[in-house]
């Protein structure tokens, strides 16, 4: 078993899903012979044919809408949107159709689709290529929003997303597409959705994050350990619906919580977690819940983007303050 990158793990999961289930169809812009702009679908068209791996016209709304129609026929479409900044035309389909056709028809029609898209900043990409608007998606009832933070979880969670009978938006952390490497066994085993992963156990402070920010969050935990602060690190992994029990259990233990995300702060998903803790774990708290997030600004282009994103230092500082609070 050799080490592969996160984007290779995505490719491996797609190939496995297509191999196992003839109903799985991959569609998007340039996903065919080109293998996708990030090469996530490379080799699939050669292996599974142009009918199951189709290059769509350049129309994102169409991609999401096609998925809804295909899924209603029992196919398991996996649509690709090249960058999260181009996902917004799909919002109508996600809100009005994908997430609610099961409810609208009381179970008569369903929507087992996956919409994959790269997520986040940090690759010095052009304008509109660095979005992290996951909170917008996590607000939609009936949808699942999943984001892996390692090759192993990319493989296992994407398989789970494709097999799930309901629609899933699968966000792929662009910044660690190739930076994250790990051993992945192509055994066809899915990881559970709706479940958070405790990446590191600790008694002093809970650090919660998802996607690429786990890299800085884990580095912060290392730095804190050097100071004698034992941080527990939670990879939320599924943002909708999210694993409240793991969050609350950890905060009950540590009494301190830092939430880290690169998305802007106001109305970000960190606010949801902070509210949950305020409602359900207030008496466990030894310090205020703190969010370390992107600023409430438009994500800057390449020259300033690193200033937008939470740094290891900002996370460490917030955790230290929480530990000093009481």
């Amino acid at each position: 078993m050799s080490e592969i990158t996160l984007v290779e793990a995505v490719n491996l999961a797609l190939a496995r899903a297509m191999e196992d289930d003839p109903d799985v169809v991959v569609l998007g812009e340039d996903v065919g012979i080109n293998g996708g702009v990030f090469r996530a679908t490379v080799g699939l068209q050669t292996r599974f044919g142009a009918e199951r791996v189709l290059d769509t016209p350049l129309a994102e709304l169409l991609i999401s809408g096609l998925c809804v129609g295909m899924a209603a026929q029992g196919l398991k479409p996996v649509g690709e949107i090249q960058f999260m900044g181009f996902l917004y035309p799909c919002i109508d389909q996600l809100v009005n159709h994908a997430s609610r056709i099961r409810n609208r028809t009381q179970g008569r029609l369903t929507c087992p689709m996956v919409l994959r898209t790269p997520h986040g900043a940090g690759i010095r990409a052009p304008e509109h290529h660095s979005e992290s608007t996951e909170a917008m998606l996590a607000h939609i009832p009936g949808l699942r929003v999943v984001i892996p933070s390692s090759p192993e979880r990319a493989y296992g969670l994407l398989l789970a997303a494709i097999r799930d009978p309901d629609p899933v938006v699968f966000l792929e952390p662009t910044r660690i597409y190739r930076a994250a490497k790990g051993e992945v066994e192509d055994n066809g085993e899915a990881l559970p959705l709706d479940v958070a992963f405790v990446l590191r156990e600790g008694r002093d402070v809970t650090l919660i994050s998802w996607g690429a920010m786990l890299k800085e969050t884990m580095a912060a935990a290392d730095a804190l350990a050097a100071d004698g602060i034992a941080a527990e690190v939670i990879d939320l992994a599924t943002l909708k619906p999210y694993d409240e029990a793991t969050v609350l259990g950890s905060v009950a233990k540590t009494g301190r919580c830092i939430i880290v995300h690169e998305a802007t702060r106001t109305g970000g998903f960190g606010a949801e977690i902070a509210a949950l803790i305020a409602e359900r774990a207030l008496t466990s708290l030894l310090a205020p819940v703190t969010r370390v997030t992107g600023y409430d600004a438009v994500i800057p282009m390449a020259r300033l983007e690193q200033h937008m994103m939470p740094s290891v230092d900002r996370i460490v500082k917030a955790a230290r303050q929480a530990c000093q609070f009481s």
Binding site: G65, A72, Q73, P77, Q93, H97, P241
Partner: protein, 366 residues
């Protein structure tokens, strides 16, 4: 489409297109050109007439229910009954219908019960868990947003080599949306078995067609997507049935998509929440009554001795009885339990929402 002459200095024409108009019955029921073969089937023609009459009676009752607080907002088909009935009558059961909110006639033809339609407009999702073909889509309210679904459904048919056709119905306003064009464009690329039917009733709520498009026809929009668009007299049910039959047969036969522009007129308000007199005159509406589809077909049927006064009276009584019985069943349907709003949110309700469901069920606080 009339090709527009350019000051071209003799440049060659690389493409030329045309749009045909189909019509058989004149407003007075006289025949304008030889009728299609099915028109010799008196049973079929009277079935179309009966379906349109039922729809008109049903609409009238639905509006009465709305006015007396027993139904929510409702969209009548008055004046355009021939479109939904004509199209649905040309479909096979295992074809898939993707209707807009004014296509009741198609749903009823395909076996959806009247009380199920009332349930939907009465605010109950169970109306969409209907007795029609199980893969048919529910009414689409966000205008034109079901067109990409139709392309997806048709793609599934093609992938699985199933001889089935998706039929997507929407109004003139929907043709202004990217959704519809994106779907048509994709359908053209893959020659998908899908038929798009635009009911051009001249009005998108208060916006007249001339503010919707600069095109001479809506049918020509299909040309940009690479397939045939035909304009049809949408108040002539014989023309609607014939056009739909041709288009569906071609699509089933692997010849790719078709587009039908059904030119008709919305004699009623947009919905029960609308007052069309705010934006169009009573005179305009009155003038269009002479084109309406029921009188037209009846005149033809009576002229052909396919229909009698006695049958007309019997049909009126039957419609009344069917509608009243449906209303009774609708009104007797108890609302769903509040917590059932979680029943079909996901295949299996995630555990984190169990407490909210319990709260709605009155089983303790969150």
């Amino acid at each position: 489409m009339a090709s527009k002459k350019m000051a071209d200095g003799g440049l060659p024409v690389v493409a030329r297109f045309e749009v045909r108009h189909r019509n058989y019955l004149a407003p007075d029921g006289s025949i304008k050109r030889p009728l299609p073969a099915f028109a010799s089937d008196a049973g079929l023609l009277t079935a179309l007439y009966r379906a349109m009459m039922l729809l008109r009676n049903f609409d009238r009752k639905a509006v009465a229910l709305q006015r007396t607080g027993r139904l929510g907002t409702y969209a009548v088909s008055l004046g355009q009954e021939a479109v939904s009935v004509g199209v649905a009558s040309a479909m096979r059961e295992d074809d898939v219908l993707l209707p807009s909110y004014r296509d009741n006639g198609a749903l009823i033809w395909r076996g959806v019960k009247l009380e199920e339609i009332l349930l939907f407009w009465g605010g109950d999702e169970r109306g969409n868990h209907f007795s029609g073909p199980v893969q048919d889509f529910p009414f689409c309210v966000p205008v034109g947003s079901q067109a990409p679904h139709a392309a997806g459904v048709a793609y599934a048919f093609k992938l699985r080599k199933q001889p089935r056709v998706a039929i997507c119905m929407f109004g003139d306003g929907a043709t202004s949306k990217g959704d519809v064009y994106e779907a048509m464009n994709f359908a053209g690329v893959h020659k998908l078995p899908v038929v798009f039917v635009a009911t051009n009733n001249q009005w998108a709520i208060s916006v007249p067609l001339r503010l919707q498009t600069g095109c001479e026809t809506l049918a020509q929009k299909a040309i940009a997507a690479g397939f045939i668009g035909e304009q049809v007299d949408g108040s002539d049910v014989v023309a609607m049935r014939a056009a739909a039959e041709d288009a569906i047969a071609a699509a089933r036969d692997g010849k790719g998509p078709r587009f039908i522009e059904a030119v008709t007129y919305r004699l009623g308000d947009h919905t029960t929440s609308d007052d069309a007199l705010r934006y169009r005159s009573a005179d305009e509406v009155q003038a269009r009554w002479k084109e309406e589809p029921l009188t037209r077909l009846r005149s033809y049927l009576v002229g052909q001795k396919m229909w009698s006064k006695a049958e007309e009276e019997q049909l009126a009584a039957e419609c009344h009885e069917r509608v009243e019985a449906a209303v009774e069943r609708y009104l007797a349907t108890e609302p769903r339990r509040p917590e059932s709003m979680f029943d079909h949110l996901y295949a299996d309700l995630p555990g984190v929402y169990a407490a909210q469901r319990r709260e709605l069920a009155g089983e303790g606080d969150v």
